[in-house]
């Protein structure tokens, strides 16, 4: 059952078995799985509830509605724009439906280096399979690959580099090219179309979802969380919400989960909000003489894995084809926006790729500052080098595929006319003021680990020192994973749900 804020006229008090904060990739799966095990669940979602009919395919209408802070979220000092969904279904509503399993070396590292039990590739396989079945994850068919993606494919083939179609959670995709504005056709198998719909259909009142409801603090006593306090944006005003639950799960996403813990005075020995990774991504744009119509078709259908962990076994980067509607596209262009008309005029002749950097650099989130929270992130020298290499290799792919010029997202307009110009990328640099970077994959902040000295939660997401508080979302990743993270979050949610179900008696007493 979904209760929208606009229907609320007074304060809300609930007593339930499980309270989950956040309805994204983790929260929705946890709600479904725990309801399946017979538990009553209340789920609080800060964003609004929008069904497919509400997705108008217009950036000016959708971005303020379904993106966190209307798209205004930055990591300083570089001003990296961080995109996260804020609506029922969370970031799964605004992502490009790309599904990667966590690379085996990452899981092995988590197990060995961070002493996380039961997270090895063999342990996780079953969870991945189960999620992929429900989300209808399948490889993009050759006839679904548009010209923007074909260019990446062609360039990689000419250079002899590994590349393959993406796997996506989309059924009968209408290829409108606007996945990141919410799927108007309901074909993207986001949480909205899968687990949340299932929970509504099969569990009725046992899963109660409050949208427009912001969790403000967790009230603790005697090593337990007793109550979640929130406010709901009702029809006439804001009203207080109090949820008393036997188990509380924070799944609000990287940043929001850490923020809630910090606001509740839970700093996990100073670990909460630290070691945040972003997968910072520069964009490379290639100009072709012919029309590419990059916005027509699946935006992210192909990737080059030649330099990623899947191929090399060590951290690197994945070059992914991508395309965006004009406003978001513009934010990747070089220079100040008043210079944009000349570049934007050739919008239809561009192909575009993003470099997903498997970053070892880490940042932190802290309360305070002009925006209520402050996100700090800075690239290490090694990651900067990798990023430059990634941009140069993406440019090589485009030149091999026949681009007449390649434009980077560096602030100072950097236009390359051939491989001889590649050194210019390094010359212009990737320092905080040198480049426009974006991130759609914030991770970490509430790291999993063996003990409270160097982690916030244990191997199954239980907050150290609190018996009934769990954290489950990308914030528990101890390192960045080097690929699009939604499937990893979902598989971890399955695993946490199973752990809570299996140990219910111990957790609640």
């Amino acid at each position: 059952m979904i209760v929208e804020g606009k229907g609320i006229m007074h304060g809300v008090k609930e007593t339930t078995e499980v309270c989950i904060i956040g309805s994204g990739a983790a929260g929705a799966i946890l709600a479904w799985e725990l309801a399946e095990k017979g538990h009553k669940v209340v789920l609080l979602e800060k964003g609004g509830y929008f069904q497919k009919e509400a997705f108008t395919q217009r950036e000016d209408e959708m971005i303020p509605r379904i993106y966190k802070n209307a798209g205004f979220q930055f990591a300083m000092p570089s001003g990296i724009i961080i995109a996260q969904g804020s609506c029922v279904g969370g970031s799964t509503v605004v992502n490009d439906a790309v599904c990667f399993r966590t690379p085996d070396p990452v899981l092995e590292r988590w197990e060995k280096e961070f002493h996380i039990a039961g997270v090895g590739p063999a342990d996780m396989k079953g969870y991945f399979e189960k999620v992929e079945r429900r989300l209808s994850v399948a490889e993009v068919r050759p006839d679904e690959i548009n010209e923007n993606n074909s260019i990446l494919k062609r360039g990689c083939e000419i250079l002899g580099w590994s590349a393959s179609p993406n796997r996506r959670n989309c059924k009968s995709c209408r290829q409108c090219g606007l996945c990141h504005l919410g799927c108007s056709y309901g074909t993207k198998q986001s949480m909205l179309e899968t687990y949340i719909k299932d929970a509504e259909a099969f569990h009725g009142d046992d899963v109660k979802i409050y949208s427009d409801c912001t969790a403000e603090s967790l009230i603790t006593s005697s090593g337990r969380v007793d109550e979640v306090r929130a406010v709901i944006h009702g029809s006439t005003s804001k009203f207080p919400v109090s949820i008393k639950a036997r188990v509380v799960i924070v799944s609000a996403g990287t940043f929001a989960s850490s923020e809630l813990l910090l606001r509740s005075g839970l700093n996990g020995n100073g670990q909460v909000g630290r070691k945040i990774a972003l997968h910072p991504s520069p964009a490379i744009i290639a100009d072709f003489d012919e029309e590419i119509n990059g916005n027509q078709g699946i935006p992210m259908a192909y990737h080059c894995s030649e330099f990623g962990m899947q191929k090399t076994g060590k951290k690197g980067y994945v070059i992914e084809s991508v395309f965006l509607a004009p406003y978001q596209f513009l934010l990747t262009l070089p220079g100040y926006v008043y210079e944009s008309k000349e570049l934007m005029r050739r919008y239809n002749h561009y192909a575009m790729a993003g470099i997903l950097l498997h970053d070892e650099s880490t940042g932190r989130i802290s309360l305070g500052g002009p925006f209520g929270t402050f996100i700090y992130y800075r690239l290490t020298a090694e990651d900067s080098k990798l990023m430059i290499e990634g941009m140069q290799n993406a440019a090589r792919i485009f030149f091999a595929a026949g681009a007449s010029r390649v434009i980077t997202s560096q602030r100072k307009r950097t236009v390359l006319y051939g491989e001889d110009d590649l050194a210019l990328i390094e010359e212009r640099g990737v320092g905080p003021t040198d480049i426009n970077l974006g991130s759609g994959h914030p991770q970490g902040g509430n790291r999993m680990g063996g003990g409270p000295r160097d982690s916030v939660v244990d191997s199954y997401g239980r907050f150290h020192g609190l018996q009934n508080l769990f954290v489950c979302d990308a914030s528990v990743f101890p390192t960045s994973i080097g690929v699009n993270p939604q499937l990893t979050v979902m598989a971890l949610a399955m695993r946490t749900a199973q752990h809570i179900g299996d140990n219910w008696g111990k957790i609640v007493t």
């Binding site: 997705f55 078709g297 934010l331």
Partner: protein, 269 residues
């Protein structure tokens, strides 16, 4: 502290306390705490006013000199009555009565300061109008008529959209952007970059010209410390202009296709 200066000092303290508290609470985005604003101001006043009463009374009664404990420039009573000016006032029963009245008015001056600090609705409206004017000029400067995409900002109602976006972002961001726009527009900031003592909105004297304004913008971009702020503004500007169908036709962007399938969809069995 003196009878002449105390009311102004209390007015100023009340004003600053209100401003700082207001901004702190907005930036905290903590809804439960918003009700604390009045209580915080009451607590600050509860400390400041008695401190003024005590210190000024001790001065008036000549128990301490001015500025005790730093130096001994004036006798306490002389300072309180004359404020360092050659007025020649001395303590009499009349001044005692007047002193009592001035002391009694101390809470009022503090209260008045907080009232000024908590921008009134009229001031708030004026402030928003001014902010929107700066934003409108900024959008117009960024997107003049002509060039590869001919429509100007006004042709596609971009200023209206920019203002609209500001109303949809969280309060803390809106407030930060508002402050940023006022700093951007201030004579002092413009002077630092252009050596011209004018506001940004008044930079070009010829109607329709944006040359001076653009030069000022360019100088912001070349400053690494201001680049972050500029990026923040860019989000608003890009949103205002490039989300318009009248702009899309010049870049061959097809826009929404719902409720139909997009025309390029390949029908595969």
């Amino acid at each position: 502290m003196s009878f002449l200066l105390d009311p102004f000092a209390l007015l100023l303290i009340g004003y600053l306390a209100a401003k700082v508290n207001y901004l702190a609470l907005i930036f905290e985005q903590h809804i439960h705490r918003r009700g604390q604003l009045r209580r915080n101001l009451f607590i600050v006043g509860g400390v400041v006013v008695p401190v003024f009463w005590l210190y000024s009374s001790l001065l008036y009664l000549d128990v301490i000199p001015f500025p005790w404990p730093l130096a001994r420039w004036f006798g306490g009573t002389t300072w309180m009555l004359n404020s360092g000016l050659p007025l020649g006032l001395i303590r009499t029963p009349v001044t005692d009565g007047a002193a009592f009245l001035v002391f009694a008015s101390y809470p009022f001056w503090y209260y008045l300061g907080t009232k000024f600090g908590l921008t009134s609705k009229v001031q708030q409206k004026r402030r928003l109008r001014e902010r929107n004017r700066i934003l409108t000029e900024l959008v117009r400067t960024t997107f003049p008529r002509g060039g590869p995409i001919p429509p100007s900002a006004d042709d596609v109602e971009a200023p209206r959209k920019a203002v609209h976006l500001l109303q949809h972002i969280p309060t803390a961001y809106e407030e930060a952007l508002t402050i940023l726009l006022f700093v951007f527009n201030s004579k002092l900031t413009v002077f630092l970059f252009t050596r011209k003592w004018r506001r940004f909105v008044d930079l070009d004297k010829d109607k329709g010209s944006t040359r001076e304004k653009r030069k000022y913008l360019e100088s912001w971009e070349s400053n690494p410390f201001l680049l972050g702020a500029l990026k923040f503004l860019e989000l608003v500007l890009a949103y205002a202009y490039y989300t318009n169908a009248d702009v899309w036709k010049y870049i061959d962007y097809s826009g929404p296709s719902i409720p139909n399938d997009p025309p390029w969809l390949k029908q595969v069995p």
